[in-house]
Amino acid sequence: MNICPTEAIRVRNGKAILYENRCVDCGECFKACPVSAISIDQDDFNRIQAFKHRIALVPAVFFGQFPEEVTHNQIYTAILANGFTHIYEVETSVDLLEQEIKAYLKAHPEKKPLISSFCPAIIRLVQVKFPALTENIMLLKPPLDITALYCRKELTDKGINPAEIGVFYITPCAAKIAAIKSPVGEDYSMITGVINMDTLYNKVYKFIRTDRSINPVVIPKKPLSKTAWQWALTHGEASHVPGRCLAIDEIHNVIEFLEKIENDEIGDINFLELRACDESCAGGVLLSANRFLVAERLRSYAPVPKDEITENDSIFAYTDYLLRRISIRPINSRSMMKLDENMEEAMRKMDKASQMLQCLPLTDCGACGSPNCQAFANDIALGEADIRQCIFIQKNREQTGELTPDESLEMMKSIWGNDKFFKNRK
């Protein structure tokens, strides 16, 4: 509850509930939960079989999870053995996007500091917590969406029926799932379904460990550049953008920095690469390997020199097609901070909340089911909590006789559930 950077979690009836309008899908709660009570919805793996042509969109960090002795060709082989017909690395489109970001920066000097559209959790964070900065978001598709467009187009051009193509993204985090299921700045997503990275990792690693009989296939592959391999890591974008750029990872760090940007305290910054996870996508909640190790492996992958990549067999053959479709619509703000739509009413509620706060102990213990005393005071003002949920208020009122011990026990049960109160009675 306390871990949530947007204070979206409350405890009621022994369960954590979520204010969905505040949630930015950052995955912090998923990382923190000691009993793995929070799961991330994905599509049924068998759903891929509904398509004749089954594309796996695999991000670079997937490869970084395997020990050094596992070759990329083994990984490709195992992915295909698990039912996919085609594999595209998500970062295939990075070299194209890199050029486009530079052009975009030149064309939109008024948008400085430009905020990268790469991390969907950051876009949502800006929408709910920093509404004034939505104008600074770069309106270009992230690599995932560009590559999805590209692989569909390439296969259709080969004469494949578009209805028979299923594009499945192997996701490292929850935010990308939300971005696909309810896209921001786009009408619909080019991606058919989502497979959690840990699910495919287990299947692929099992295959590699057990099925040694099959010779690895060698895929005539369009190799990723060094830039592309490292794009999803911290500094992956910022190190290629001219001018003053900052790369900030981990959502609390990002919040701290955006507060300053919003006050106009820091001027003259060209570009901000902001990522919700520590070590960026290498720290995605659905990754299995240690994030530092994943980042180190991706940095070590030897790139193919750029001049060996010919225009014809690369994404650049589709430059015009993709650039016509690379824009996204302006991002709306959806502030979660407001106490009420109506300002007069909001002022009344704020008054009530500050009166409530004066009665509260300011211990931020969380026993009331809200993350801290201020959030609890706001919950009361919004009519979503009762001041008697505060354990200190209960003690006081028991003393004065306003509340019986039975009543206060019921109150606590309504927050934390019955079970918590029987543990030591057996």
Binding site: A132, E262, N263
Partner: protein, 140 residues
């Protein structure tokens, strides 16, 4: 509604805290994000002035549904010639400080550009009061 913040003299680590706190309140009151930005930018500019030049002071913010009124009150050296101080580029800072690019000489201009009304009362040796007014549109 009124909110008051004390500004410490010379404590740059805390410069901006008052603006950030007030910003949070304006967001809770559902003020338009672009208007919040203008209010906070001008308040921050004034806040830093008090920390840097004016021996500390206080900020009193008043909000109603039609406008936000921010009074920045300091006990600093005062401004001898307000008209001159309002000229873009005018600064008492040394050439060396200006070269450092802290935007010397642009502070009051920046506040004026971001507010609907700016009133300055100043007495040399006694202090300065900056009154920043930003109007809020009816809807919302």
């Amino acid at each position: 509604m009124q909110f008051e913040y004390a500004i410490e003299d010379g404590n740059f680590t805390k410069a901006g805290d008052a603006s950030s706190s007030f910003k949070k309140i304006l967001k809770q009151l559902n003020v338009d994000p672009q208007i919040i930005k203008r209010i906070v930018v001008s308040m921050y500019e004034g806040e830093v002035n008090i920390v840097a030049h004016a021996n500390g002071g206080k900020v009193i913010c008043n909000v109603d549904t039609s406008r936000v009124n921010i009074k920045l009150i300091d006990k600093g050296p005062g401004i001898p010639d307000i008209a001159k101080a309002m000229q873009a580029g005018y600064s008492t800072a040394s050439a060396k400080v200006r070269e450092m690019g802290f935007g010397a000489g642009m502070g009051l201009q920046n506040i004026k550009n971001n507010s609907d009304e700016l009133n300055i009362k100043s007495e040399v040796g006694v202090g300065t009061t900056l009154e920043i007014i930003v109007n809020l549109p009816k809807a919302g």
